[in-house]
């Protein structure tokens, strides 16, 4: 009974959850917390900070990062396709053309709407 697959799975889950919780909690438990003013100040290379630490987001960086991530990962789809291009033949070519057209329309749209301009 104890070694039925269900018992295994129960133990398995308990272990996983406990380990995960432990890992999450360990830093909180073992770190020494002695905050002082200097520690909680923003680090501005030794110069006293001039403004609040939590400021505006650097939105532009995110924008570029997002676009990069998307197109980067889409580009990753080319690899398996390229490896098997010969086997896939004309069908594979057509498929990739369709894929690129769809991507291209999206790309053109982003461009036109000013997604790439460094405002």
């Amino acid at each position: 009974m104890l070694f039925s697959p269900w018992a295994t799975v129960a133990i398995f889950f308990v272990v996983a959850v406990v380990v995960a919780l432990l890992i999450s909690a360990v830093p909180g438990i073992f770190t020494s917390k002695r905050p002082n003013r200097a520690k909680s100040e923003a680090y501005e290379c030794g110069v006293p900070p001039t403004s609040a630490m939590i400021g505006r987001f650097p939105v532009r960086f995110y924008l570029v990062a997002m676009l990069f991530v998307i197109f980067d990962v889409e580009a990753a789809s080319f690899y398996p396709w390229a490896v098997r291009l010969r086997d896939l033949g004309a069908f594979g070519l057509m498929e990739m053309v369709t894929f690129i057209v769809v991507l291209g329309v999206g790309y053109a749209y982003v461009w036109k709407k000013g997604g790439f301009s460094w405002r």
Binding site: A16, A20, A76
Partner: protein, 102 residues
């Protein structure tokens, strides 16, 4: 090379998954929460990959590939939304986002 047993992968994946979940629940910065979610998704990927290797079957790996692609799109969209929401706010704390309730 000794084969890593399937169960180890599963335990690792589950640990990752729960860490992601806990991270989602305890963090208040939406970016961090998104990272936690990515961790959960990738825990799923790990399971897929582990089973695919175990079965010697490609579909699991294809699935991983697709999940990664979708995850990229999802990350981009989430980031865009987070940026939109926090453009005009002082700090980034999801607990302050509760105009609607009840």
């Amino acid at each position: 090379m000794p084969q890593v047993p399937l169960a180890d992968y599963l335990i690792l994946a589950t640990v990752l998954f729960v860490i992601g979940l806990v991270g989602f629940l305890v963090r208040r910065n939406p970016i961090t929460m998104l990272m936690a979610i990515e961790l959960m998704w990738n825990a799923g990927n790990l399971v897929f990959a582990a089973f695919a290797r175990n079965f010697g079957d490609m579909t699991g790996q294809v699935f991983v590939f697709i999940v990664i692609t979708v995850a990229a799109a999802e990350a981009a969209i989430s980031l865009a939304i987070v940026v939109m929401v926090f453009r005009h706010r002082e700090d980034v704390d999801v607990d302050d986002i509760s105009v609607m309730r009840g």
